[in-house]
């Protein structure tokens, strides 16, 4: 197997927390492993609180890592201190597009300033003429008309702001673009344009995407492969088309059946109760329980006694369920 662009191994993030019952550890990301190949688009899905955002913050090295490795371009980024990350050679190779296009733009910067900032800080572009040429080029690629570049965020529409956010992230031509719900704040009418823009941009610049979203319809259309997270762990992964056609983990099934218009009866897959707490109290036994136990319609005694590990279930597919082979037809 060729070297992946990004290879994450047993990555973990634990936050110390205080509860009325005493001290404990919140396992936000718990032993996550996956790879992203060059030029691949990987979707990361899961409900709020499942650890998606923490994972993203670990990958972009804005949070210290508790355990594990992040292998990227021959280096282990997990060893890099977040404060030293800005000087690291990989810093310019991993860029991020944030969820809210409005909140993530500096209100006192014009679109031009916003897009030029990374070039000045990380791109080593000193010459004003070159700076202008680079900004103009990415503006063209992201469909921003030149006259918009002198505007401030409040003078731009939602779709235009989303383009500025994407242009800022893409202007350095990073190898990996991390997109955190880039279309969540947009209307359907604008969402399509932005998704098609991202697909074009990827073709043009040959980047890899990690696309975080809870809109499964969008993930299905944009992504080559999908990772499903639940309670800090990856519970299923595989080619997007296969996972959507025949999910092998009960949680993935519930997710897919819940998509409006999926034609599935969501009622058959409704999840009772709430997710387990990700907090492990100090001194308590490391709970050997499947994170999905208690909500899973197929749960049995084994599930309460043993954590299922992510294992290959078909070519290119993995699932973390004791009973994945005996699940009823989807």
């Amino acid at each position: 197997m060729s070297a992946a662009l990004l290879e994450v191994m047993d990555l973990a993030k634990r936050f110390p927390v205080k509860t009325p019952q005493g001290k404990g550890l919140l396992h936000a990301v718990d032993g996550v492993s996956f790879r992203i190949e060059a030029g691949e688009t990987v979707g990361l899905v899961g409900e709020s609180g499942c650890g998606k955002s923490t994972l993203v913050r670990l990958l972009t090295r804005t949070l210290p890592v508790s355990d594990g490795q992040i292998r990227f371009l021959g280096a282990d980024l997990a060893l890099v201190d977040p404060h030293r990350m800005p000087e690291h050679k990989s810093r310019r190779e991993v860029q991020m597009v944030f969820q809210d296009p409005h909140d993530s733009l500096n209100p006192r910067y014009t679109a031009y300033d916003t897009i030029a900032e990374p070039l000045k800080l990380l791109g080593g572009v000193k010459d004003a003429g070159e700076l202008r040429a680079r900004v103009d080029e990415i503006a063209r690629l992201t469909g921003l008309p030149p006259e918009l570049l002198q505007r401030f965020p409040h003078q731009l529409s939602g779709g235009q702001k989303a383009r500025v956010g994407i242009a800022r992230a893409a202007v350095l031509r990073p190898r990996l673009l991390v997109l955190d719900e880039p279309t969540a704040a947009l209307d359907v009418s604008v969402q399509v344009v932005i998704l098609q823009l991202l697909a074009d941009l990827k073709r043009e610049l040959g980047m890899s995407f990690l696309f975080v979203s809870h809109d499964l319809n969008v993930v299905r259309l944009l992504c080559d492969r999908v990772l499903v997270m639940y309670l800090g762990r990856v519970v299923e992964s595989g080619p997007a088309a296969d996972v959507f056609a025949n999910p092998r983990h009960p949680y993935t099934r519930a997710l897919i059946a819940s998509i409006p218009g999926s034609g599935r009866r969501a009622l058959d897959h409704l999840l009772p109760g709430e997710a387990q707490s990700p907090i492990q109290m100090a001194g308590a036994d490391a709970s050997g329980r499947c994170g999905f136990h208690g909500r899973c319609p197929h749960g049995r005694d084994t599930c309460a006694a043993e954590i299922p590990l992510l294992r290959a279930v078909a070519s290119g597919r993995e699932a973390a369920c004791h009973f994945t082979d005996t699940l009823p037809e989807f």
Partner: protein, 328 residues
């Protein structure tokens, strides 16, 4: 049979410093008892303005310039504030878009439920707590006894939304206005919440069916949940039809473009087509009669004339050049 809610030719403006915003123009809408109607359109198309106007919750700058709105025999636009207060929460209730903002942050959710029950029902004070806990339990909120004592900030978004729905449904309203009730929630939570609302729409024997006005910009959700869909664009109702018919034979170009932009059931990104352009500025003095004409692409000289109403009793479309109906 008389519809439960009937809005006729309603126009509403906001007077602002930047000019008069023509937020609703000649809007007609009716909802039968027990019916679920979806109200769809882009942000800014007037969906929420319409629902606020119906409940008498409009901003002080709003002015109704024409039209009428009747709910179960009551003239909503002429009703006194006292009458409206009697109706709101009991006969018509609303699920607001953002539960974290709509709930009172400094009052326990159980007490907020009790407020509604004491104001609108004959529940004796001694029983009201049990009743409130029952309402929470009905929304499948785990551990309702404990959650009764929770403040909104102690609950997750999904739980807050369930509390909102418990409040809205506590008095068994005849009409529920749900304004983006699941925006920002996970799909699994969304499915659970919609199932709860639907359950109330198909009630047990002896209780009355609840009608729902579901405001959403998610066409997939509207298709799953609604009997009929009303499409709004820039303050106009542009099309209204039974759900299946609307998706099978959309006649207004805006509806067609919206459906074309919805990713549900598409095989690839290339199958999606974007909606052209942006909503027109509703403060403009020279708004065209058809507010979609500048985005339409099929507009011709005839589109400058007054907006027609083409209505066969089931399928309504307001367009000079609608797509032809498939011959029956």
């Amino acid at each position: 049979m008389l519809p439960l809610l009937e809005v006729k030719n309603l126009s509403l403006q906001f007077r602002t410093r930047g000019g008069t915003v023509h937020a609703l123009q000649d809007v007609s809408l009716s909802i039968a008892k027990g019916e679920t109607v979806g109200l769809v359109g882009e942000s800014g198309s007037g969906k929420s303005v319409l629902s606020y106007a119906l409940l008498g919750l409009s901003d002080a700058a709003a002015r109704v310039t024409q039209g009428s709105a009747h709910f179960d025999g009551l003239d909503l636009l002429a009703a006194s504030e006292a009458d409206l207060q009697d109706i709101r929460g009991r006969e018509v209730s609303m699920i607001f878009q953002n539960p974290k903002v709509a709930l009172n942050p400094i009052r326990k959710v159980g007490h907020q439920l009790e407020d509604v029950l004491l104001r609108h029902t004959t529940t004796p004070r001694a029983e009201v707590k049990a009743r409130a806990v029952h309402c929470l339990a009905e929304m499948k909120i785990p551990d309702p006894e404990r959650r009764y004592h929770a403040y909104p900030f102690e609950l997750s978004g999904g739980l807050c939304q369930r509390v909102m729905i418990a409040l809205a449904l506590a008095c068994g309203p005849k009409l529920l206005v749900a304004d983006e009730p699941t925006t920002g929630l996970d799909v699994t939570t969304q499915a659970a919440i919609m199932a709860l609302i639907r359950e109330k729409g198909r009630p047990a024997v002896g209780t009355q069916a609840m009608a729902t006005l579901l405001i959403t910009h998610d066409l997939g959700l509207a298709r799953d949940q609604c009997d009929r869909i009303v499409v709004m664009h820039a303050g106009h109702v542009v099309e209204s039809a039974p759900t299946e018919q609307l998706f099978r034979e959309p006649r207004h170009p805006y509806t067609r473009q919206l459906i074309g932009a919805t990713p549900v059931g598409r095989a690839s990104l290339a199958d999606l087509t974007a909606v052209r352009g942006n909503l027109p500025d509703l403060r403009r003095a020279d708004l065209p009669a058809c507010r979609f004409s500048e985005r339409c692409g099929q507009a011709s000289a005839m589109c400058a004339g007054a907006l027609p109403v083409i209505d066969d009793g089931r399928h309504l479309v307001r367009c000079h050049r609608p797509a032809q109906e498939v011959a029956a």
